[in-house]
């Protein structure tokens, strides 16, 4: 009959103590493995995407407002200027997507304006100004063939062709085709058909 000797082993640790150590390993090791594995499930995964979704949406819609219209022929202008008033972050979102493309044969340029009168009759002007500041902006492009786009105004003001508004937590826009007509701009069918009303 084989007998496990109860004596001091080679390592100098009694068999009983060695048994305890082994038992601790049996219990402890899986727990360490479980803890390490479970920790993976406990980590933040993935990182929160901090893209400014409002900017992306506005920039894409502005780009389509430019592309989907019938614009009056430019009089000697070398560029098709899209001006953004006081919103440099929107310029950064808009420019990589649309700057350098052409409207007809005219290259598109995206301008960032601190003041509305910094640009000479841009083809599209976007502003989020309100009150007297908005009045000033509208005065600066009065009578120009400029499509004026505002955001979150309570109503479509005179001089404004398109206004973004929020409906059901989403971004919508309303249009004033008469204002566009006054400025010699023919709003594209897609812009007309996708417009919402309040």
């Amino acid at each position: 009959m084989a007998v496990v000797p109860f004596s001091v082993t080679k390592s100098g640790v009694p068999a009983v103590q060695r048994g305890i150590q082994r038992a601790l390993l049996w219990v402890g090791l899986p727990m360490v493995v479980l803890a390490a594995w479970a920790f993976q499930g406990g980590v933040q995964d993935p990182k929160l995407d901090t893209t400014d979704t409002q900017l992306v949406l506005k920039s894409l819609m502005l780009g389509q407002f430019v592309k989907a219209n019938q614009w009056p022929a430019s009089e000697g202008a070398g560029t098709f200027d899209v001006a953004v008033h006081n919103k440099p972050a929107l310029v950064e979102a808009l420019a990589p997507k649309f700057a350098g493309s052409a409207i007809g044969a005219t290259p598109l340029r995206v301008l960032s304006l601190d003041k509305a009168d910094e640009a000479d009759a841009p083809r599209l002007l976007y502003t989020e100004a309100t009150g007297p500041e908005l009045d000033e902006v509208l005065r600066a492009v009065k009578g120009d063939a400029t499509l004026v786009v505002t955001a979150f105004q309570p109503t479509l003001m005179e001089g404004v062709t398109i206004n973004f508004f929020i409906s059901n937590d989403g971004l919508k826009y309303e249009i004033n085709p008469e204002e566009a007509e006054k400025r010699g701009i023919l709003l594209g069918n897609i812009i007309m058909s996708c417009a919402a009303s309040r």
């Binding site: 499930g41 409002q54 949406l57 989403g170 996708c194």
Partner: protein
Amino acid sequence: MRSLSLIWMCAVALAVTGPCWAQPGSAQDLAIERAIALGKAGQFEEGLAQLNPYLQAPSASEAKACYVAGFLLKERFKKENMPGSLSGDRAEAVRWLRQALDLDVRRVAPWRNSAEKALGYLGGTYFDDVVLGVDAFEPGQEARILELFEAHESVASYLDANLDATAERTEVHKNMARAYRQWFEATGDEAHFEGIVSQYEQALALSPRDMTATYNLAVNIYNRGVAQINAMDENTTLPEILAINESSRALFERALPWFEQADVLQPNRPETLRGLMIVHHALFHPEQEEAYRVQLEKALTR
């Protein structure tokens, strides 16, 4: 090898010294000795055949035969190593070892501790298979992984009646959610995204106060909405932009309650406050966005 032979020596010693389970020198006792010797020589099938007459309808007097049968099957499982299997030697080993322990009503059998260790080892291998299954996860395998987990849980609960495996099971779901996310990142398949959501929801059904599951679910849903928006480019038409705006909005609204729940579970956590600020921004809620921005500033300066 040395430790293996020690295990065998223990098994032989335990089998032969068992005082009241089979009479020394009885046919059963001799069969058990032969089974152990055959098992030691790697002849598991032959060893099991020796025990077979005592395993038909075992009673307390055959408990040791059940234990040795379980031990042999465990050794064969170790040798043949078929991970992921729910039937076969491992399941049989568990069955016989449990039977042996159940028959040892007075809990005095000298082999009891060895049987429990063997069971613990087998339960651990089920858990190892769960970990392997998640690491090499493929969509559709979740039921299989949960079955393996249940096999592990069943053994663990048998050995410790007070065991609560809820936390472990929650971690399994959370890890499968992570695996689904990796799949979704590679494929963009909507079903894989829903797999993420489903696994986190199952984790939260088990552990409603699990902060990481709550927050990660919120982030995964929110990021999906952002990804839809980021996938658009200058060629995306207005009707497409508006449609994507709608679908991303639905995702942001779906993410919001989970961010709010994360804030309830761990108030003023900056990551959650940032998430709440950002999701309200995405939903065009300027007042709430501002309120959470102020809270975030305060949390960061605490």
